[in-house]
């Protein structure tokens, strides 16, 4: 037991994580590409036309995975940030920093695709639907996290402050979500719900699942690329970095 703990902590040092990440990245890119090809095949050629919404419903094959990933990335980001705060492991804080832009991207994509879905279905680019509103707030939380980290010069202080913000955000996300949902039902908003709109056929579920996996693998790969850059930037004056680049 003791041995394995030490084993894992070894990868928590930037020096050993940097080459490990480098070896893993191609695999995640490959997985992302494979899942994306399979997912796109199902979304365009296998999944049948929806009786009510015609071909427009195919947007869910990117909208839903982007929404899922944006929420999931916030959780993962908060987890790494919290771990960095509790155990003072440098790589976990860098991981949180590397995830934030991708999370913001996913939230933005979710909003964009949501708007493009909403226009033909509801006749408006934006409706104050509970999910879309929560997603907008989530985007603000990502932007706040990034802005706070960017505004603090000392990277260690930036990590810790960001971690507290991420943890406060995690406590608040469910409260925000339920409050927005409650507000939405109270004000009798849209009755069409984005996620369960078409009678969820088995093939659609598969398509969504494969696309979600593709987005997931993509997020891991891009976060690893970014964390490698962050490691080099922050550790540039250490001896090992000087030998790490040939």
């Amino acid at each position: 037991m003791r041995q394995s703990i030490i084993h894992w902590f070894r990868f928590a040092s930037p020096q050993s994580f940097y080459p490990l990440a480098g070896r893993l990245i191609p695999w995640f890119w490959a997985a992302a590409a494979l899942f994306a090809i399979a997912g796109l095949w199902i979304s365009f050629f296998v999944a049948p036309t929806d009786a009510q919404q015609g071909e427009g419903y195919r947007i869910i094959f990117v909208h839903v995975p982007a929404s899922w990933m944006s929420m999931f990335i916030y959780m993962v980001m908060a987890f790494w940030a919290g771990l960095g705060l509790a155990l003072n492991t440098r790589v976990s804080a860098m991981m949180a920093q590397a995830l934030a832009p991708t999370g913001a991207l996913m939230a933005a994509l979710s909003l964009w695709t949501g708007a493009l879905w909403g226009k033909p279905m509801w006749g408006a680019w934006w409706v104050w639907d509970a999910r879309l509103t929560s997603e907008l707030i989530l985007l603000f939380l990502f932007l706040g996290f990034m802005a706070l980290q960017a505004a603090i010069d000392d990277p260690r202080r930036a990590d810790k402050a960001g971690a507290i913000l991420a943890l406060v955000g995690v406590v608040n996300i469910p409260i925000i979500y339920f409050s927005v949902k409650w507000w939405n039902t109270l004000h009798q908003g849209s009755t069409i719900n984005l996620n369960k709109a078409p009678s969820m056929a088995q093939t659609m579920l598969w398509g969504m699942l494969l696309m979600a996996l593709a987005f997931w693998m993509y997020s891991i790969a891009i976060a690893l690329v970014r964390v490698r850059a962050i490691i080099l930037e922050r550790e540039r004056h250490t001896e090992w970095v000087k030998h790490a680049v040939e």
Binding site: D153, D154, P155, R236
Partner: protein, 199 residues
């Protein structure tokens, strides 16, 4: 009583110092010397527990710091004025004591201010006082708050000859009664004895 070992500190990417250690027993004081930017203030902030050290440990009465007990025994006066400009010296002193959970009577506070040569300025807002007088208001806390360890960063700056002598006497008296002190300065200090630590 105070044992410091293996202390290391870096600011950003620059290593300020590494493997700094010293120990102080009752009645001893440490003179931390060094050029500008050598890390004197950083060392002080590490010792009192404001900043975390990269490595090393600070043990007070056999226990790791920072702890509530350590803070009870500690007075730290840094570069800042650490007084509220809108309050009078008397209010400053009494409120600072109340925040520390110390009950300070008005007469005791007045006595401390008079000892520091602030007679007649007790009721003026601190903002109208001179830099040296503001410093004296802060130094009055050394009299009103019982503490074993005094950590004074550049405490002799901005003081006139009389005040330098007064502070020297205060520190000497504190050491005689078994207290400890850590002082920084790049000039000789009017306090006898003392260990030296050059950064």
């Amino acid at each position: 009583m105070l044992n410091v070992s293996g202390l290391a500190c870096s600011r950003g990417e620059r290593r300020l110092f590494a493997d700094v250690g010293f120990s102080l027993a009752a009645g001893e004081w440490l003179h931390v010397q060094g050029e500008n930017g050598s890390g004197k203030t950083s060392l002080m902030r590490l010792v009192v527990g404001l900043s975390p050290a990269d490595a090393g440990e600070i043990v007070w009465r056999g226990e790791q710091t920072p702890s509530q007990e350590f803070r009870r025994d500690l007075i730290y006066l840094g570069h800042h004025a650490a007084v509220k400009e809108d309050l009078t010296p008397l209010e400053n002193l009494r409120l600072a004591a109340a925040l520390d959970g110390v009950d300070l009577s008005e007469s005791d506070a007045l006595a401390a201010l008079i000892r520091l040569g602030l007679r007649g300025r007790e009721e003026l807002p601190v903002r109208v006082l001179s830099a040296g007088q503001k410093r004296r208001v802060l130094l009055a806390r050394l009299l009103t708050r019982p503490a074993h360890l005094w950590v004074l960063d550049e405490a002799f700056n901005a003081l006139d000859v009389a005040a330098v002598k007064l502070l020297g006497d205060l520190i000497a008296g504190h050491l005689e009664s078994g207290g400890l002190a850590i002082l920084t300065s790049h000039q000789p200090l009017p306090v006898p004895g003392g260990k030296a630590l050059v950064l």
